[in-house]
């Protein structure tokens, strides 16, 4: 059964889709249909992988390997563990819903969907890579479509935001090139296979500085304070599906890469910088929440709330114990689904009302009850209310945090309060009251638009009420890392 190269199907379905779109995607419907098929293939395959993944076994599963550039020891090796399997599901969910959300893109649909699929290929490649070069290659591959998608189809200072985003990400990846070449020679086995890298023990000084490079490189992507400024601008300028992918998936590459190349490879370096990392995490949580509080544009609110929520992931990585690290990965998934939903909702509202200014939107509950219900679910997850995915994730991180450092937990808790404040303020403004002039003429989401929202909202509730499946798959792969970080 596992002889089938399922991971290759997940990764390559979007590429094939992109090529088909470039070849046959004339008109308005064909590109969308092809993209939807490619998305469906990736989604069903990654759900299947998630379902049959052996939760009792450690290490990578479904490994397929093909030599790629033997001269420098690069191989096209794919595999998943309990951390990457949920990420694959997340990515394909966001891709599938993102294609549905983009159904009414009319400007150059051919290029739009081809680039969208190319972007997702890069993201899948990152999450399925066992070879460090392949991971890096895939990540870089995702950057360029991002630039074009924002620059061509974006809004609000799109040229500035697109260039800023690309240069930040490129600068981050410049650090990662250093990490890769240094580690390659330090291991000295003419390989980029991360399994072999992980079994090598690096010197303490080497670990200290290379971990710092990894932290800056992937941290730019997470994004860590003060390297976060590209992220809200990028969210706002991007078209809806790209915002979903950007906030929902791309930011997770940063955290994922930091686990794979940082924590697993350089545990001593992690120990050197973990307190700094924890501090950054607290700043992200609190500062991001305060920034979100003061925004007037809905997309900027969610953009800064991403900075705040990713702070929990950073805190989880900094604590590095069983609960916090599991919580971090859980939060990556939960936040991905939640922001995906938020951007889908805001995209719909913006299309209908042509505004995203909070003050101009009131009374959505009256006009669009289904959309309003989804807003409430997303908001509840954002605040970390029980029965949502966000609750499980934040609870796990806080358990780890309280055990290790109550003061940090107390500081980060300010963020929870502020988050509740800005989410409730936003929801009460836009949902309650009499419909404003902009809202009055609009109608609730048609079935085609409601399906993606329902899928994402349903996932939030499902994971929040039945977290066990996700929890066990993550913990199974987190435990070896925790042992390694603890010096075992």
């Amino acid at each position: 059964m596992t002889n089938l190269p399922v991971l290759a199907i997940i990764v390559l379905a979007p590429v094939v889709g992109a090529l088909l779109i470039m070849a046959f995607g004339r008109g308005q419907i064909a590109p969308k249909a092809i993209a939807l098929v490619a998305g469906t293939v990736s989604l069903t395959t990654s759900l299947w992988v998630f379902a049959v993944y052996d939760r009792a076994a450690a290490g990578y599963q479904f490994v397929t390997s093909v030599p790629w550039i033997p001269s420098i020891g690069v191989s096209f090796t794919l595999g998943v563990d309990g951390i990457s399997a949920p990420m694959l599901v997340l990515t394909s969910l966001i891709l599938f819903t993102g294609v549905l959300v983009s159904w009414n893109v009319t400007e150059r649909p051919r290029e739009y969907f081809a680039l969208l699929l190319l972007l997702v290929t890069g993201v899948f490649g990152v999450f399925a890579a066992v070879d460090a070069f392949l991971l890096f290659f895939s990540y870089e591959m995702a950057v360029l479509p991002m630039y074009l998608l924002i620059a061509i189809w974006g809004s609000t200072r799109k040229d500035y935001s697109a260039m800023k985003l690309t240069l930040f990400l490129f600068a981050g990846s410049a650090m990662l090139i250093l990490v890769l070449v240094l580690t390659y020679w330090a291991v000295g086995a003419n390989t980029f296979d991360m399994r072999i890298w992980a079994s090598h023990s690096f010197g303490a000084v080497f670990q200290k500085w290379v971990f710092l490079l990894t932290l800056i490189g992937f941290g730019t992507l997470i994004p860590i304070f003060p390297l976060h400024t590209w992220s809200p601008d990028g969210h706002v300028a991007a078209p809806t599906a790209v915002s979903m992918l950007h906030a929902g998936v791309l930011l997770k590459i940063g955290a994922y890469g930091l686990i794979r190349l940082g924590l697993v490879m350089f545990p001593l370096g992690w120990a050197d910088w973990r307190m700094a990392l924890a501090l950054i995490g607290v700043i992200n949580v609190v500062y991001g929440a305060f920034c979100a509080m003061s925004q007037t544009d809905l997309k900027y609110v969610i953009g800064y709330s991403s900075v705040s929520h990713m702070g929990y992931v950073i805190l989880g990585l900094a604590m590095g114990d069983r609960f916090a690290l599991t919580g971090a990965v859980f939060q990556m998934f939960a936040h991905g689904i939640m922001t995906g939903l938020f951007f889908a909702l805001i995209g719909f509202i913006y299309e209908q009302t042509h505004t995203r200014v909070i003050a101009d939107i009131t009374g959505l509950m009256r006009r669009t009850p289904l959309v309003a219900a989804c807003f409430v679910i997303a908001g509840a997850s954002s605040m970390g209310l029980p029965s949502t995915a966000g609750f499980v994730a934040e609870l796990l991180v806080y358990v780890g945090l309280v055990i290790q450092s109550p003061w940090l937990a107390a500081a980060a808790f300010i963020g929870v309060v502020v988050t509740a404040a800005y989410v409730l303020r936003m929801l009460s403004r836009i949902l309650l009251g009499e419909p404003s002039a902009a809202v009055a003429p609009i109608h609730d989401a048609p079935p085609l638009r409601f399906v993606p929202m329902a899928i994402l909202a349903g996932t939030i509730m499902l994971v929040g009420i039945l977290p066990a499946s996700l929890y066990t798959i993550i913990t199974g792969s987190v435990m070896p890392i925790v042992t390694k970080l603890a010096g075992g």
Binding site: W68, I69, P70, S71, I72, F133, F137, S138, E140, M141, V143, L144, Y147, L148, A151, I152, K158, D159, A162, M163, T166, L167, F170, A171, A174, M175, I177, L178, L180, V181, L182, Y184, W185
Partner: protein, 486 residues
């Protein structure tokens, strides 16, 4: 007098073919003039003749790719490295001539002579790849430079072309004098002119002879002019902008790589000199990358931008030299392929656009994605490869170069290199932005089919090297190994 066995000439068959090709072009033009006085139009046969001749020469190079032999008492070296460069020069020649079939008659009526000069400068470059003796190096270098001076000034009616030719002439004079002075010092100090004997003599000496050191520095300065390395790059933007675009296209890759072909053998001979070559070349590489990229940011003319980008790319190539190992040289050779393909793709688009709208200003590329989507895509691919985005050759090439620099412990140089990649992404992406986002005229753009074919070949090369680089890396590694006697 030392006799040379006639059989040794057989190893120079490619060069002989190319030399005769140049003569043939001129003679044939006398008998069947390419320029028709009655209609005022030029026939295109000289271009095709040149292409066929160059391909024939390339076929003749192939059997020599696995031969290592010293000819004519040590003045010519046949080895995989020489074969690699010869194929590279011939390939560049074919692509450049193919993309200029319709562009050349726009600025001159003497097309056959144009191609003959082009062929001879390629001949000079091929000989440089094999030259293993100082005077042979000098003569080959002159053979590459002199036709280029004429070619740069070939567009007689364009004053910028004349100005560029004069600047290039002065540059050639200065760099040649410096080079000759360096050679005379080395010859005077060591009493020999063949590189192998120079290498052996240097290895015997324990201390640095100041005269030899001075000679080597002058020699390397001469090369630095040729490869457009900083701080000897100030001539580049003016010469590139003024020269007819097909000539610029050739200079930006062919002439630059010729400088490397020649520098490599001299550097290996000088390896024994106890100077920190890593540091010397590392510093030159770092300055070239930085000045080139900073200069490119504010350019409005695409040829000038590519000129500055070429200076920066010379810096990346020099990172491979700075690594000074067979890995380093292999990565440099791979980089020449990647850069050659990407840069020729970019120039093919520049030629096509200049033919269609008579402009080289980046601002006039606005709306190109609507006027001709494939052309815009091709230029985007070329430029992104130069910037080092994945799926394209530039990514692999840069990674390979950085890998070899890290092997040599040049971490600081890798750091400067990666930071420079970020800077370069800005100006390469800006062109893509202009093409895809800025509003411009919407009428479709006519494409010249020959240039489009050259463009397709170059783009195929960029993608092939970017996705399946293994075969090229193996070839590069073999050529590099032959330089170190492996």
């Amino acid at each position: 007098m030392i006799l040379v066995p006639a059989s040794e000439y057989a190893y120079l068959l490619p060069e002989i073919i190319v030399a005769l090709l140049g003569v043939l072009l001129i003679v044939a033009d006398l008998i069947w003039p390419a320029y028709d006085e009655a209609t005022g139009r030029s026939k295109t046969w000289p271009a095709y003749l040149a292409i066929v001749g160059l391909i024939a020469a390339a076929v003749a190079v192939v059997p020599l790719a696995s031969v290592s032999k010293t000819l004519f008492n040590g003045i010519i070296q046949i080895d995989p490295l020489a074969a690699f460069f010869k194929l590279l020069f011939l390939g560049i020649g074919v692509l450049v001539i193919l993309m200029s079939v319709n562009a050349v008659p726009k600025f001159t009526r003497w097309t056959a002579e144009f191609y003959a000069l082009m062929v001879w400068t390629i001949l000079g470059s091929m000989l440089l790849a094999s030259a293993a003796e100082l005077f042979t190096i000098f003569l080959s270098l002159q053979l590459t430079s002199l036709p280029l001076i004429v070619l740069v000034g070939y567009a007689k009616r364009d004053p910028r072309s004349g100005e560029a030719a004069l600047k290039y002439l002065l540059l050639v004079l200065v760099s040649t004098s410096v080079l000759l002075y360096g050679m005379s010092l080395i010859y005077g100090a060591l009493g020999t002119s063949t590189l192998s004997e120079i290498g052996a003599a240097l290895a015997r000496e324990k201390t640095i002879n100041p005269i030899v050191a001075m000679g080597l520095v002058l020699l390397l300065t001469g090369f630095a002019f040729k490869i457009t390395a900083a701080p000897f790059h100030y001539w580049v933007p003016d010469a590139y902008e003024g020269a007819p675009t097909p000539v610029t296209a050739f200079m930006s890759v062919g002439s630059k790589f010729a400088g490397f072909a020649l520098a490599l053998r001299v550097i290996v001979a000088a390896e024994a000199v106890p100077l920190n070559w890593h540091l010397i070349f590392g510093v030159i590489a770092a300055i070239s990358m930085t000045l080139g990229n900073l200069g490119a940011i504010r350019q409005k003319n695409i040829k000038r931008m590519l000129a500055y980008s070429g200076i920066a790319q010379a810096g990346y190539l020099l990172v491979g030299v700075a690594a000074f190992s067979s890995w380093g040289i292999a990565s440099l050779l791979f980089y020449t392929l990647a850069y050659g393909a990407a840069n020729l793709a970019a120039f093919a688009v520049v030629i096509i656009v200049a033919n269609a709208i008579k402009s080289e200003q980046i601002a006039d590329y606005a709306g190109l994605s609507k006027r001709n989507p494939l052309l815009a895509l091709a230029l985007t691919i070329g430029l992104l490869s130069l910037a080092g985005f994945p799926l394209m050759a530039g990514f692999m090439a840069k990674f390979y170069v950085f890998l070899s620099a890290a092997q040599a412990g040049l971490i600081w140089l890798v750091a400067i290199g990666v930071i420079n990649s970020v800077i370069s992404a800005y100006y390469y992406l800006r062109v893509a932005f202009v093409m895809y986002v800025s509003e411009g005229p919407a009428e479709p753009m006519k494409i010249d089919p020959q240039a489009a074919l050259a463009l397709c070949v170059a783009i195929a090369g960029v993608l092939f090297l970017g996705i399946i680089p293994q075969a090229a890396m193996v070839a590069a590694a073999r050529a590099a190994a032959s330089l170190f006697g492996g």
